[in-house]
């Protein structure tokens, strides 16, 4: 599988070519300037070698300003253009397409735990379908780690206490390295794994053969009931007799939330997470700071499921019923409304 002496890495994702083009562009510029400087040094070194008849260098007064301006402005223009190009690639690396499928990952010393939206779990391995954008929401149980898939040219640090995300779309079936690139302790260099990019049909087969798991959104919905979140976040089931004591979560994800005391915050994954663990950090305008903390009551995986469930609630839904399928929530009987 691995060639023995590669000089350039596999390019197996949709952004890989973009990154390579940018890199080769920079490489060309670097080669030009390095060779230019190198050549000038060598030529001058030979040509102006100290001789008896040339004990001193030229003392001619040269107007330096025009030259200085030239060789300041040219590099500046080049650098700024490359910045713009780089920024474009950066955005493509950071911004997942709308149809990205949500995976979750938890890092700990020294392993990677991944969970597919279908609920299937893997350790130090990640099976993904080719041609499907995938976004992994990541957090760490201990120190900072960093998820790096060289063939995909993507990387993100994985931090304790918050989420970071990484997305890619594999373009070529194959097995690729997966590294931890943030030094995380003794077995840092063993915190590696393999990404298996499979053709879509192979991926379906892989999923179907003997792998079980409850879809994240379903288990998240169960947790929503088990932790009695719905007693306060009643959403559209709120009645004058039983008013909601917390804001509706339907359609919340991705919106700007107005806070008590002014200011807004974007409801991203990290916000949802923090609101569960530290409810009074950001109190939504118009509500009392009465929510208890759930810190220490759920594992990172449970938290992921809950966050995924809240993310999945479209605007105008009611809370899930007991079996937790948000899709069924539309005509949910008010079985737990009392």
């Amino acid at each position: 599988m691995w060639p023995n002496f590669p000089l350039f890495p596999d390019a197996a994702s949709s952004v890989a070519r973009e990154v390579d083009a940018l890199y080769l562009g920079w490489l060309a510029i670097s080669l030009f300037f390095s060779l230019l400087i190198g050549a000038l040094i060598v030529v001058f070194f030979m040509k102006y070698r100290r001789r008896a008849w040339r004990r001193f260098g030229s003392t001619a007064d040269i107007k330096t300003l025009p030259v200085e301006v030239t060789w300041s402005v040219i590099p500046l223009v080049i650098a700024l253009s490359m910045f713009a190009w780089g920024a474009k690639v950066f955005f493509d690396q950071m911004r997942p397409p709308a149809d990205a499928v949500g995976f979750y990952g938890v890092a700990k010393q020294w392993m990677w735990k991944f969970q597919h939206p279908e609920g299937v779990r893997e350790i130090n391995a990640l099976h993904v379908p080719v041609g499907q954008p995938i976004q992994i929401t990541l957090t760490s149980e201990d120190v900072i780690h960093s998820l790096f898939i060289p063939a995909f040219r993507v990387k993100t640090d994985v931090l304790p206490g918050r989420y970071t995300t990484l997305w890619f779309e594999a373009t070529k079936p194959g097995e690729y390295h997966l590294f931890c690139t943030e030094y995380c302790g003794t077995e840092h260099s063993r915190m590696i794994g393999t990404v298996y990019a499979l053709a879509p049909e192979d991926y379906e087969t892989w999923l179907a053969t003997g792998r079980t798991g409850v879809p994240l959104r379903v288990s998240g919905g169960e947790l929503f009931g088990r932790f009695a979140c719905d007693t306060c976040h009643r959403m559209e089931r709120a009645t004058p007799e039983l008013p909601a004591r917390g804001p509706s979560l339907a359609g919340l994800f991705g919106t700007e939330v107005e806070l008590v005391g002014g200011g807004t915050v974007t409801a991203d994954e990290t916000y949802l997470r923090r609101s569960i663990l530290e409810p009074q950090a950001h109190v939504v305008a118009g509500w009392q700071p009465i929510m208890p903390t759930f810190k220490g009551q759920m594992s990172e995986e449970q938290l992921n499921a809950l966050v995924d469930y809240v993310k999945s609630l479209p605007a105008g839904t009611q809370t899930a019923d007991e079996d937790g399928a948000p899709g069924a929530a539309g005509e949910s009987p008010a079985s737990n409304a009392g």
Binding site: M94, R95, P96, P97, A98, A100, G102, Q135, T165, W167, F253, G254, G261, G262, V265, T266, D268, Y271, K311
Partner: protein, 98 residues
């Protein structure tokens, strides 16, 4: 650094201004003025610090070099605060994937 001697009167006046500033800061803190609380508090603190620097520390009577030194200290502190804050303020801005 000149040998300028600041009169005792100025010292006492500055002292009184500092005490008044402290009293006002405490007094204002008990009213809910929203964001203005912080603004007033910091303005008074900056004013007090400026008085100390200019008179107690004689910067008003010293040369440009000293003023430049103080200014650069403040400038680089602001650089630290501003650029670090630039990260935290914009963290929620990434376009989210659904």
């Amino acid at each position: 650094m000149t040998d300028h001697v600041v009169s005792r009167k100025i010292y006492f006046l500055v002292f009184i201004a500092l005490m008044v500033g402290t009293a006002v800061t405490v007094w204002v803190a008990f009213f809910d003025l929203g964001a203005a609380n912080d603004a007033i508090m910091l303005t008074i603190a900056v004013a007090k610090a400026t008085l100390v620097v200019l008179y107690f520390m004689h910067v008003r009577y010293s040369g440009r070099l000293i003023a430049l030194t103080v200014g650069s200290g403040i400038l680089f502190l602001l650089i630290l605060l501003a650029l670090a804050l630039a990260d935290y303020v914009t963290r929620g801005w990434v376009v989210l994937g659904r």
